[in-house]
């Protein structure tokens, strides 16, 4: 009679391998030497917009700033003041500032960190009769003392679910999808 363990072991190993392949990557980078508790004031720079929607970057930036501020653990410099500092310091491309520019901005606005972002997708996606809203974005946080990246993460939320396909519904509204995406990023930041 065959030993049952002999069959179970390879099956278990195969299952583990399969699960490991299916698991989503963490999609974040954290500088282990950074003390995030010391970050009190943050500057949120204008986001880069790679989507078809013209105002997507500004919308997502506003929601992110507000939700970060509403977490009550970090103060976000008002966006008007950020714009003024960008003009004052003469930053050519605010969505992708260089190391020196980050340091200069930190000194001007008395901020501990600068956040930049890219909105990769924002809007409606269709598949057959089903439609849904999707947001895909990534963020980076720079320490203003050194100008180096201390945290980076990305997320994609929304899209067409099985329920949308079956019922032909249009999914969650855009603002809810955006909030879910920002929520996910904040969870990755504060984890």
């Amino acid at each position: 009679m065959a030993n049952p363990l002999r069959l179970t072991r390879p099956a278990a190993a195969f299952l583990l391998l399969g699960l490991a392949a299916c698991a989503s990557p963490a999609r974040r980078y954290v500088d282990q030497g950074m003390d995030f508790g010391a970050v009190r004031t943050v500057v949120v720079m204008p986001f880069q917009n790679l989507s078809r929607e013209n105002l997507a970057a500004e919308r997502v930036r506003d929601v992110f700033s507000n939700m970060l501020l509403a977490s009550s653990s970090i103060y976000v410099v008002p966006l008007g003041e950020v714009q003024r500092a960008i003009t004052q310091t003469g930053i050519q491309n605010p969505a992708t500032p260089g190391t020196e520019e980050v340091v200069k901005l930190g000194k001007t606005l008395k901020a501990d960190a600068v956040v930049t972002g890219v909105v990769k997708e924002y809007g409606e996606v269709r598949s057959g009769n089903a439609a849904g809203n999707v947001v895909s974005m990534s963020l980076q946080m720079f320490e203003t003392a050194t100008g180096k990246v201390v945290w980076s993460a990305s997320t994609t939320q929304g899209g067409i679910s099985m329920g949308d396909r079956l019922l032909g519904s249009s999914g969650a509204p855009m603002n809810q999808v955006t909030e879910a995406a920002v929520d996910d990023l904040l969870a990755k930041l504060f984890r």
Partner: protein, 387 residues
């Protein structure tokens, strides 16, 4: 058997009670001192609707409505000459210099500024008008403010009998409503500020709040123009005015007139590029002596209707944000059956959204005030935006 004397005594008592209640009712209808005969200057009507409107005609009809109610109005060539003499082109607000000059040269006690917020004559007609009375003092104050916005299919009723087919009808109703509201205010029987309808569907989804650094019994506020990122040319002004209206309804908040705010910003060459800045807050504290400045960004304002904006309030003493919120809503949010409760115009939707934000903001500011005995009095103005 009926006892006649006792019946008559009861009748006399009832009669006396009725007379007392009538007299009590009349006591509330007494004109506010000095306001019932206030002379008003009617400034030309501004157009913020984004389309071409014959504002001169709207102004003339507004003047007629006011005169019909016995108000003493200075308008037409006299006001045009006054504006030309002082080189005043902006008539959507009143600053200190203009108010003083109007008092001295036109002999008026207040200036009535009004604007057409919405105008659509083709398809389903739509019309919106707002107005406010600003005192002709060196530091102008908002004395009265009201507004109305309607679409022809707002109240269709049974078999669509309530549908309004022409914009003129909507215009007449709006002019009559505003003139009546102003007249009642001047007679002391109406509220100073009529707020929009409270609607829990349009509460801000995310907001941040922090305590004021120098809480006092009164809080002075300047609402700066909102940065407009939409295709509507005056969405920022519409949202800013809605905030002015909402906050002016609270008796312990002093809201500076948008004309005075604009004048201070121009004088100090402040440009609100991406939103409210520390510099704008400093200037507001220095020039207008306000504790809080409010501004924000408007992302969507269209006729579908859909409105999205962010509001930020800065404490001018510390340059720190004391409030920030994001709001996004559609006219059919929370509507499930037969369009019941659907909002037809972007202005009305924005007004209700701003009311929800303002209410939360006022509640927060009230908590931080220094004297608990002077908590906000119950609002005298009605909660429903009459139509």
């Amino acid at each position: 058997m009926i006892s006649w004397p006792s019946c008559s005594a009861r009748g006399r008592a009832l009669g006396a009670l009725a007379a007392a209640s009538v007299l009590w009712g009349c006591a509330g209808a007494r004109p506010a001192p000095g306001r019932e005969r206030m002379r008003l200057a009617l400034f030309p009507v501004e157009n913020v609707s984004g389309v071409s409107v014959n504002t001169r005609e709207v102004g003339t009809r507004l003047e007629l409505e006011l005169r019909r109610r016995g108000l003493d109005v200075v308008s037409g060539d006299i006001v045009e000459d006054f504006l030309a003499r002082h080189r005043i082109r902006y008539t959507a607000g009143v600053d200190g210099e203009t108010a003083r000059a109007a008092r001295e040269e036109l002999g008026v006690g207040g200036v009535l500024v009004s604007s057409v917020d919405l105008y659509r004559s083709r398809g389903t007609p739509q019309f919106g008008l707002s107005a406010r009375l600003v005192s002709a003092e060196d530091s102008p104050r908002i004395l009265w403010m009201d507004g109305t916005e309607r679409a022809g299919d707002d109240s269709l009723g049974l078999f669509g009998l309530g549908e309004v087919g022409s914009v003129i009808e909507l215009e007449d109703a709006a002019l009559s409503r505003l003139a009546g509201s102003l007249s009642r205010f001047l007679q002391g029987t109406g509220p100073a500020v009529t707020r929009c309808t409270a609607d829990g569907r349009f509460e801000p989804r995310v907001f941040y709040r922090a305590p004021l650094s120098r809480p006092g019994p009164r809080v002075s506020v300047a609402v700066l123009p909102f940065v407009n990122l939409t295709g509507h040319p005056a969405a920022g002004e519409v949202i800013a005015l809605a905030f002015v209206r909402e906050l002016a309804a609270t008796d312990w908040i002093d809201v500076r007139d948008p004309g005075a705010v604009r004048s201070a910003l121009l004088k100090h060459r402040i440009i609100l590029e991406g939103g409210v800045s520390h510099e704008a807050a400093r200037v507001s504290l220095g020039a207008m002596e306000v504790d809080v400045v409010i501004s924000g960004r408007v992302h969507a304002f269209d006729g579908s209707p859909k409105v999205e904006f962010t509001a930020t309030a800065l404490d001018t003493w510390t340059n720190r944000a004391v409030w920030q919120s994001s709001s996004f809503n559609r006219g059919d949010d929370g509507v499930f059956f037969f369009d019941a409760g659907r909002i037809g115009t972007a202005g009305e939707l924005a007004c209700r959204m701003v009311r929800e934000v303002g209410e939360e903001m006022v509640r927060h500011l009230a908590q931080g005030r220094s004297s608990p005995s002077r908590l906000p009095a119950p609002r005298s103005s009605p909660d429903v935006k009459g139509r």
